[in-house]
Each structure stands twice: as C-alpha cells, then as structure tokens.
C-alpha cells in the first residue's frame, strides 16, 4: 500500500496524518468514495487534512463545494442514495448547524424510512473541541446533537495510532457516521509510522490504561488530558484505568460496565456542557445498569451549562488535569 507524502511530519505521524492516510486509502480502494467540503480541493482544507488528494484523484472525487452546509449534506444524501459513498468535511464544529435538518431528518432516517439498513454510507467529518484560542463557534462539542438522532453513529478520534483505522471503518460502513476530530490533537502527538494499521471496531470502547483504583471515562479531546491526570496521580500511588469511549452513540455499554465494576469508582470527564450530555448518559448507564458494582457516586466533570466562552476564559470553562486529579482523589479517598 502506498500513501501520499505528508510533508508536515518530520518523524512519525500525527493524528492529522492518520486521518489523511485513511482518506487516501478510502479513495484508492473504492471508486465510489468522494470527498466533499468547503476548501477541501485546491487548498486541502483549512487544516490541510485533504492536501494533495485532489491532485491524485481529480476534482470529481475531491470536490470543492459552495459555502452552504445544508446543501453539502443534502446533496451528499442524494449521492449516497445513487451509489456513491460521500465523505463530507464540515469546516468547523460550530458550522454544522445549517445541516442539522438534513442530518436529523434524512441522513439518520433514510434507512428506517426505506427499511434498508445499508442505505446511507455517508461519513460526516468535522474538527471538534476547544483549548486552541479560536474565535467564537470554533471550539464546540456538538456530539450530543447527533447522539439524539437515532440510527446515526457518532465517534471521535483521539490518538494518532487509531484515527486512521477508526475513520476507515466509518467510511467502509454502510451506516451513516459522524466522525469528530479533536482539532487540538491534530498535530500534538506523533507515533512511529506503520505500513499496515490494525482494524478498529468503531463500536468498541478502548481501554488505554489499566488501573485497579478508579476508572476514568473520556472521549475525543479529553483523552490526552485524562492520560496526563492518570500519570499525575500515579505519583501518589493511585492507579487509574482510562477508558476511551470511541463511540458516543451508541455507547459500548458492556465494556463500560465491565471496566467500571473493577474498581467501582468512576470519574467521567468531557469538554461538552453537562446537561443531557454524552457524559451524563454514561452516568445514567452506570446508575441504572451498574449500580450494584459502584462503591461511591460517580463524579462528572464537564463544562458549565453555558456557551463556549472567549479564548481568554476557555481554560476556566473546561475541566483541567487538576480538576480530574482532584475528582480521582475524591472517589479513591
């Protein structure tokens, strides 16, 4: 297998490289895949994730779309019904809202409407999450909106080594996926390149670290923060397991309950606000299906129920490493 050169990397590859390679591989292996989005062709996207792909695969397969998200997803639905597998890039998390009608009323409903489970092989990618000092509506956590559309699958990348396999699984699936890409992590970490990447099950949560004293449940942009918190508290002799949900809808309930039962002490952390969130859903699952194994009430760390603030205030808005270690001390005390 060959991959397009990625001049950004010096050694090893980043999560951005992994996503780029997944897109390259998807276009190479299936002529019905298309990439559509604002500035994805000539420019390679504002994050350069699709850089070079138009030159390799042509402007009919890596398509610069007009600046209109509802039209982008709506035409993607028509392309999907007529035999293509569109991979749609939304430029920023905060720009998805014009397309919510198409996503909620059509992308997530066509398979049910027509009683054909494999009818909507559409993948909608977008950068998500904050802590990058961006302007307004460039740091959102929109996952809960999508999780409320039944039959839509919602996953998030979190590390360089699994982003490629996870995205390929979403693209190859006949079900519709929303694929979130924590933008702060695009180029933050590098791993050594591998020619072949292990298959990733997009429905399975992933245990990133074992530990008998407590379980930390996270996803997407909170994963590396959680790992730092687990490292920090390990110096105090507290061994914390870290579970990356990977899939926010549906949640891998079996793995969650199994891992929670090991210590019975759980902290859930996310960048999103708390109300009706993925993390409150995790606590709901623990309370209704895993209560007997809990040794104390789970701790829930999220943003307050307020809009994402100006960059100046974002560090206070989001749960920090220290917030998490404090919560871990609380449940293990």
């Amino acid at each position: 297998m060959t991959t397009t050169a990625t001049p950004r990397s010096r050694t090893g590859f980043t999560m951005a490289d992994g996503i780029h390679r997944a897109l390259d591989q998807a276009l190479a292996e299936d002529p019905t895949t298309l990439i559509m989005g604002e500035d994805v062709g000539q420019l390679g996207g504002v994050f350069r994730i699709t850089a070079g792909l138009r030159d390799t695969y042509g402007a009919d397969r890596v398509i610069d779309s007009p600046l209109a998200e509802a039209g982008l997803v709506g035409t993607g639905v028509g392309l999907a019904l007529n035999g293509f597998r569109p991979i749609i890039e939304i430029q920023f998390d905060g720009f998805i809202f014009p397309a919510l009608n198409q996503i909620c009323t059509h992308v997530a409903r066509f398979p049910l409407r027509l009683q054909e489970p494999g009818l909507m092989p559409l993948t909608i990618r977008m950068p998500s999450g904050g802590r990058i000092r961006a302007s307004e509506l460039h740091s959102e956590s929109p996952e809960t909106y999508f999780a409320h559309a039944p039959d839509l699958r919602v996953v998030s990348a979190s590390t360089p080594d699994t982003a490629r396999g996870l995205l390929l699984a979403a693209i190859r699936s006949d079900e519709p996926f929303v694929f979130l890409e924590p933008k702060r992590l695009y180029r933050r970490y590098r791993v050594e390149p591998e020619d072949e990447i292990a298959d990733v099950d997009p429905g399975r949560a992933r245990l990133l670290r074992e530990g008998d004293d407590a379980l930390l449940v996270v996803y997407g942009p909170m994963v590396d923060i959680a790992m730092q918190a687990a490292d920090a508290i390990a110096e105090e002799g507290v061994r914390v397991a870290v579970l990356d949900l990977v899939s926010m809808a549906p949640i891998d309930t079996d793995t969650l309950l199994t891992e929670a039962a090991r210590s019975g002490r759980v902290v859930v952390a996310a960048e999103s606000i708390r109300r009706c969130s993925i993390s409150s859903e995790v606590v709901s699952i623990l309370a209704t299906e895993g209560f007997g194994a809990l040794k104390c009430a789970p701790r829930l760390l999220t943003s307050p129920n307020r809009p994402y603030p100006p960059a100046h205030e974002e560090d206070e808005h989001l749960p920090s490493v220290e917030d998490i270690t404090n919560a871990l001390r609380g449940v293990t005390a």
Partner: protein
Amino acid sequence: MFRALTRGRRFDELALRLQRQGVIDSYGESRGQEAAQIGAVVDLEADDMVFPSYRQPSVALERGVPTVELLRFYAGAGFCPWDWRKHRFAPYCIPVGSQVAHAVGWAWASRLRGESAATVVFFGDGAASQGEVHEAMNYAGVFKAPVVFLLENNGYAISLPTAKQTNAEELYLRAAGYGIAGVRVDGNDVVAVRDVVREALSRARAGNGPTLVEAVTYRMGGHTTSDDPLRYRTKDEVAGWIDRDPVTRFRARLADQPDLEERIGEIEAEVEAELDRATDDFLKERGMA
C-alpha cells in the same frame, strides 16, 4: 395523458372519500395540480428519477406505483410502501423543501457516472422560501446537475398566499441568481408543461445543466384533510379556478379527435375499475372488506 390525468383525479377523490370514512389517516389533496404533475413526468424514461414532495399521487401512479401501495402510505403502514428503486420514485419528503438537494445529489451522481438519466424534483411556492432550496439550486448550477426543478406554484403554502410568501411576483426569475435556465408555464395546461419540461430534460441530458420550471397552478382542495381552506380563501376564488380545471381543459383540447366520447368513456371506465380493484384489495388487507 388523459388516462394519467384522470387516474390522478380519481385517486384524489377516492383518497378523500376513504379519509372521510376513517379508512386512511390523512391525505394531502392534489386536485387541480394534475397537469403540472403529469406534464412533468410523461416524457421520462424508466431510468430517470423523480423526487416528490408529498402531494404527487398522480406522479406515483404514472411511475407505476401500485395504487394499493400508495394507499398504504396514507394509512400509516410504512413511510415508503412502494419499491422506490424499481419505480424510480423516491419516498414522500415531509420536511418542506429538503428533498431538492437529494435530487441534485442523485442527478449529480448520474452525471459522474456518465449516464444520460435526468431527475425531476417537485416542490412548492412555500418550499421556495426555504434556504435549503436555494442552496440546492445553487449546487445544481455549479455542478451542472441534470435536474429539472418543478416548482408547483399552487397559490398557497397551507394558508399563506404566494403574495405574502414573497414579494417576488415570478419565482422562476430566481433561476438567474443561480446561473441556470428558468421558465414559467401555465401549470394547468398539460401540453404546455410537457413541452417546457421536454426542453428542460434535453438541456439536462446534453450536460447543459438544470432548469427551474415554475408551473402556475391552483390547489383546489385543502392542504390536507385536516385543513379548512375557507378560513383563508373564498368560494368565489375557488370557483374561478374551476373554469381552468386541468382535466376538463385537456379534454376540450381533444375535441376534434375521432370517437372522442367513446374513447374517453373507455378510459374512465378502465381507471374506475383499476381503482375499484385496488380499493377492494386495500380494504381486505385492512380487514375492512
């Protein structure tokens, strides 16, 4: 075409009756719009695609959807009881105007594969106010999608008359804003609609992009069977459109055909028999026969 118009009209009357009898749940009436609908699809090939809104029973039947399957939709027995691929007739689309982008995507896919198939999408004067409809028409222009936008301007979006829907008098002029062809036609003249759509289909198949066709017509019945149109329009206004009834107008056009009365009688009897059979089957499966 007379058969298709008659079938559409008789189905509308049948569905209204079945709803009033409590056999089906609710029905969006289409009486008066048969010419705009049939004229737009009569020239289609089997592999051309149609995206309806939710008021095109005459088109469904013309595309070969069995009457009993169409009735099942109105009885709540499935969101799309027909084989949409076989008939090339997409499911009814409830969020107003959101189907237009699907048609553009479908047509674009045809073009990408080098096929000659064209796509027709129906929407109304109310849907024309939706941002998604503008986005879809703009996309179609940019990507030269082989699609015909059939805007049935039936005068009302539920209760809102077109004059209050928009300050524009002629909706087809919006085509210029997308750099696509636009044309306005008497939507109650099935021959005129067929002719402009025929030209639009040729343009689409030749790779010269989409056309916005504004078919000016009138919804003679209510928005649905739950509507009461006399709350927003007068009996006199409705009566004024009876003179322009698309079915009787086409019949008048045929006046010099030999054996007209006899042939019309035959067609009407055949359509009646076809609908009667379907109604019997439908009532049986509902356990009402």
